[in-house]
Amino acid sequence: MLDRRKLLLGSAALALSGCKVFDSATDRDSALRNLFASHEGLTRAAQRAVIGDRLAPEFSEADIRQGQRPNGSVNPDGAEYRRMAGTGFRDYRLTVTGLVDRPQSLSLANLTALPSRTQITRHDCVEGWSCIAKWQGVPLGTVLKLAQPRLAARYAVFQCFDAIERSLSGEVFYYESIDLIDAFHPQTILAYGMNGAPLPVANGAPLRLRVERQLGYKMAKYVHTIELVDNLAALGSGNGSYWADRGYEWYAGI
């Protein structure tokens, strides 16, 4: 209740400011918001047209000047995750399911035995900062091919161990999705190594997604399940990702 009162008092103070008139745009159901949000389709179409299958810029070892700044969840506290972290993720399994002919359950050993890709890339957070790090992992396309996607599959959905929020209806675990254009891009990897060491817990151990041509929030950490689907309506509130359900763009190329 106190928070609610603070919020009301805060709103009253803000009402004095000039730009309050556009605050209705924060309401995701308002016509104003929908008008402004119409840019997303145009942005995606335009970017896809000019980018094609080109690679994100890669950097040199000399460009790695600091550790990778962790953001969002940095230490999931679920019992299952804690138990696995305590034993070096020995019994971790990545599940690949959904619209596939051969569902997979892969251990870290299975994943590291597959051909890997190492890339030094720049991580751009939606907040505005960037950080350069070296990522090692297995191309997502390689893992998806093992599972043999069906023709109907259009999106890869990532389910994660980190509960980023606790609501009345229970814990909300991080979820994210990308389309198969990005899923099969050569730089899209499931990373298990960072800056020459195993992926730290703060950065998403044991496995995180790297989608180098989009913003940081697309790169789900603590991934345990990849599901191929033909639409995103059933996921969260239907916008395709945890942050898309909270007003951010699903396509985060800008």
């Binding site: 119409s38 840019h39 970017q47 000047r65 939606v126 900062w129 350069i132 180098e212 942050w243 190329g253």
Partner: protein
């Protein structure tokens, strides 16, 4: 009041694009400050230094004697900016509520509105460039050699607030408008695109051109400051040169010139 003949100075595409810019830049600036508030520092380089310092500007809130103070650091010099930058209305936020759209912190909403008007700006640029190339407005803007020779006199006249109301722009007007349209706005678009991880794949040379994504972000911000400076001078000139005549000109195209000038 000038008593000379009325001249038709700005054509319809010039007037319409002028107002589209005015509206777009208003939203782009205030949503830009909202976006900036999510990471209120500016850096030089490819990345933001966390384990090392490459910031030229940081805006923080610090607790001091039980009160929230805004602290702004520019090139190492520290200023107390409570009420305006860092902390305002008892809240920790870089730019105060009155300068952001929406007024409350919402990075997602700021981004959605910012990119909407970024498209409006780019579309307006394209229409303006095509129309101006066809109707001769581009030539109206580019200073001639005679203009440049008249530059010292024009500066002296402006300094004495002696304005020449003629059908043609004066050389300082030409230089001001041309540097906004051919330097500042393209720079805004290019530094903006440099920050897009998607567009970086299409044009990796673009962030390199600006010496890294974070430097591009800093230039994006500084160009905004320059545009605010242009806006302030633009408003002052309108007020000093005769606001009714100037407004009529940018709304209807018709401009009252001085007697005996460019009739």
């Amino acid at each position: 009041m000038p008593q000379g003949p009325l001249v038709y100075r700005q054509r319809l595409p010039t007037r319409i694009t002028h107002w589209l810019w005015a509206v777009s830049l208003f939203f782009l600036m205030l949503t830009g400050l909202q976006i900036f508030n999510a990471h209120p520092s500016l850096h030089i380089g490819k990345e933001a230094g966390f384990d090392y310092d490459n910031a030229i500007l940081t805006i923080d809130a610090v607790e001091k004697d039980g009160a929230l103070r805004g602290v702004t650091r520019v090139f190492g010099a520290e200023f107390d900016t409570t009420g305006f930058l860092g902390a305002s209305n008892g809240e920790a936020r870089a730019f105060l509520a009155a300068l952001t759209i929406p007024s409350k912190p919402s990075l997602a909403t700021g981004r959605v509105i910012h990119f909407f008007f970024a498209w409006v700006l780019v579309g307006t640029m394209a229409v303006w460039l095509a129309a101006s190339a066809l109707n001769g407005h581009l030539r109206q803007l580019l200073p001639t050699r005679a203009d440049l020779r008249a530059l010292p006199r024009d500066i002296a006249d402006h300094a004495r607030l002696r304005f020449h109301l003629s059908a043609e722009y004066t050389v300082l007007q030409k230089l001001a408008y041309a540097s906004v349209l051919f330097v500042a706005l393209p720079l805004m678009i290019l530094t903006g695109l440099s920050m897009s991880p998607g567009f970086n794949a299409a044009a990796p040379w673009l962030p390199d051109l600006f010496q890294g994504r974070q430097t591009a972000r800093t230039i994006h911000f500084l160009t905004m400051v320059a545009l605010v400076g242009f806006f302030a001078v633009h408003m002052a000139m309108i007020l000093l040169a005769g606001p009714l005549n100037e407004m009529r000109s940018i709304l209807t195209g018709w401009y009252r010139t001085e007697e005996g000038k460019d009739a």
